[in-house]
């Protein structure tokens, strides 16, 4: 058994690169230039960066949703790069994802019951519909949703409730790893705190490993053990949240931290020049 649940080495991902019109080759555009990342069992790792940093692509690569051009990704000691969809399927149950936009990530034409019950049946985690529904009810209760939600369609729920359904769908399969991609960026502060608290509780109870992608360093600080700072498809700094946030080593990390407005009056904040030249 490998020490780390996820071990990614030298991951390079490039988009495009198909043959264009008239057979001219379009050069692939690299989004990740050799990223190393490990996630321990039960560990929550933050992946932060601004738009275009490659954080979303990195997340998708960890789940085997995009194929790296080079490098390797091991999940529980098993190489997942280059695996066919069919070979990947048994592993799918063990790695789940929570999405940024719960409206888009829930099929508008399917009731919450279907959204939550079908995956259990697919993976044979329940013998029949009734058993599956019993489990789903337990999970709904755990994420703080009333059973009545089962008969609803996604557009009939509030934003916070939809995000809870998204979380329920990810944990109902009892995965080992959950990727959370900007899951609180569209939510109000009070709803955000509820979702973060829920996630922290689930992580503890289920001993989940998590990758938490966010542009918001404050949110990452709230839930993560370690953090990777991405810029232009490279990891510029990584380490325990404690040390990265109190004593950032990289200039870009400093700029990023410095750019976050704290709810504390600091007359110098708008006055001083940014850290980089």
């Amino acid at each position: 058994m490998a020490d780390n649940l996820i071990d990614a080495r030298g991951v390079v991902v490039a988009y495009g690169g198909q043959r264009g019109a008239f057979g001219k080759r379009v050069e692939p555009k690299p989004v990740l230039h050799g990223v190393d990342l490990v996630i321990g069992r039960g560990e929550t790792v933050g992946i932060v960066g601004e738009s275009g940093s490659g954080k979303t692509t990195l997340g998708r690569a960890l789940l085997g949703l995009v194929q790296p051009a080079s490098g390797s990704i091991h999940f529980d000691g098993k190489e997942i790069t280059g695996l066919q969809e069919a070979a990947m399927r048994p592993l799918r149950r063990r790695m789940q994802m929570i999405f940024q936009d719960p409206m888009s990530s829930l099929n508008p034409r399917r009731a919450i019951r279907h959204i939550l019950v079908d995956p259990l049946l697919l993976h044979g985690l329940a013998k029949n519909r009734r058993e599956a529904e019993t489990r789903v009810r337990a999970v709904l209760d755990r994420v703080g949703l009333a059973v009545a939600a089962l008969d609803r369609y996604p557009h009939e729920l509030s934003g916070g409730q939809r995000q809870r359904v998204g979380i329920a769908r990810a944990v109902v399969l009892e995965p080992d790893f959950v990727l959370a991609d900007e899951i609180v960026s569209g939510l109000d502060v009070s709803t955000q705190a509820q979702v973060l608290q829920l996630l922290a509780g689930l992580k503890r109870d289920m001993n989940l490993s998590m990758a938490f992608i966010s542009h918001d360093l404050s949110v990452v600080r709230a839930v993560c053990d370690r953090v990777y700072v991405l810029s232009g498809g490279r990891v510029v700094e990584q380490g325990a949240c404690e040390s990265v946030f109190s004593a950032p080593q990289d200039a870009y990390t400093r700029t990023l931290i410095d750019a976050i407005p704290l709810p504390v009056i600091d007359p110098a904040w708008l006055g001083r020049r940014p850290a980089q030249a």
Binding site: E85, S104, N107, Q161, Q194
Partner: protein, 299 residues
């Protein structure tokens, strides 16, 4: 007990999905009018032998070119008058709905079937599949549709089957184009990625996740296509490429009426009005369905 307080209570149990869909449909006047008229035509077609006052083929040269009721020299037995051979226009009109609806429904469904399958595959799989389907659509659309249909009828011989085949062969591209674009858009949505991470296979995703979201557009398009099929059938009848001339069709009646338009304008006007109303009804129904079935508008 849940660790966090249950957020704002989920509203009280709503009516079933079916009841809601029906209510949304009934709330659309376009669905009521368009659908009502089509339903009326359907009844006419089914009950033609019982409803039609005369045999549509029976000639009565003594009663030729009688005008509709309300005009001078009319005969109350012939509500919409007679043609130059003394055949009852109303009865021919009623029998004509049979061909019109048969062609409309079967041809549109066939075109939709072919177009939807190709569109789904092209939109979801992309790559070489998409390239092949897209090129095929482009080539197909560059071909003049009238020539194509004449070609089909020439090969298959005239008759209802040929007309249906011609329409399906020409018009599958309408469906393929729209379904392909819609599938591509839906495939970008996170719920498709979610289905992948849950371990669902590609076909399951295509037919269980994506197809239901493409269905409303498809249904609207299908209804519009039925209207188009009615016109195409009339055109082919008009140029004599449809069914044999002794079966009453609206297109055939228009062609015949055109020749005697100065002596008996009603032979021309009656089928034209029927054609116009039918196509309008299909279009209204299609538009109403599209509005009623939008999941987000359906509240």
């Amino acid at each position: 007990m849940a660790e966090i307080a249950t957020a704002a209570p989920v509203p009280a149990a709503p009516p079933s999905r079916l009841a809601k869909t029906l209510r949304a449909l009934v709330a659309q006047p376009k669905v009521i009018w368009g659908g009502g008229f089509i339903l009326f035509l359907l009844l006419l077609a089914l009950a033609a032998p019982f409803i039609a006052p005369h045999d549509p083929l029976a000639q009565d040269l003594m009663a030729g070119t009688l005008p509709p009721v309300g005009f001078a020299e009319h005969d109350a037995a012939y509500l919409l008058g007679t043609d130059d051979l003394g055949r009852d226009v109303l009865s021919r009109l009623i029998y004509g709905t049979r061909i019109a609806l048969t062609v409309a429904v079967i041809a549109a469904v066939l075109a939709a079937l072919v177009g939807t399958i190709l569109g789904l595959l092209a939109g979801y799989y992309g790559g070489i599949v998409d390239t092949v389907v897209s090129r095929l659509i482009e080539i197909w659309m560059a071909f003049p549709p009238v020539l194509l249909s004449i070609l089909v009828v020439a090969i298959m011989g005239s008759g209802v089957t040929s007309v249906i085949a011609a329409i399906a062969i020409i018009d599958w591209t309408r469906f393929a184009r729209v379904v392909r674009a819609e599938t591509m858009a839906q495939a970008q949505a996170d719920y498709v990625t979610a289905a992948r991470t849950l371990g669902f296979g590609r076909l399951a995703i295509l037919f269980r996740e994506i197809l239901p979201n493409v269905a409303p557009v498809l249904l609207a398009l299908l209804t519009l296509e039925m209207g188009i099929a009615v016109i195409v059938e009339a055109i082919l009848s008009f140029v004599g490429l449809s069914v044999s001339s002794d079966t009453p069709t609206w297109g055939g009646m228009i062609a015949q009426g055109r020749q005697i338009i100065y002596q008996a304008w009603w032979v021309f006007a009656a089928p034209l009005a029927a054609l116009f109303a039918t196509v309008l009804a299909f279009n209204q129904l299609g538009d109403g369905l599209r509005r009623a079935l939008d999941p987000v508008m359906q509240r």
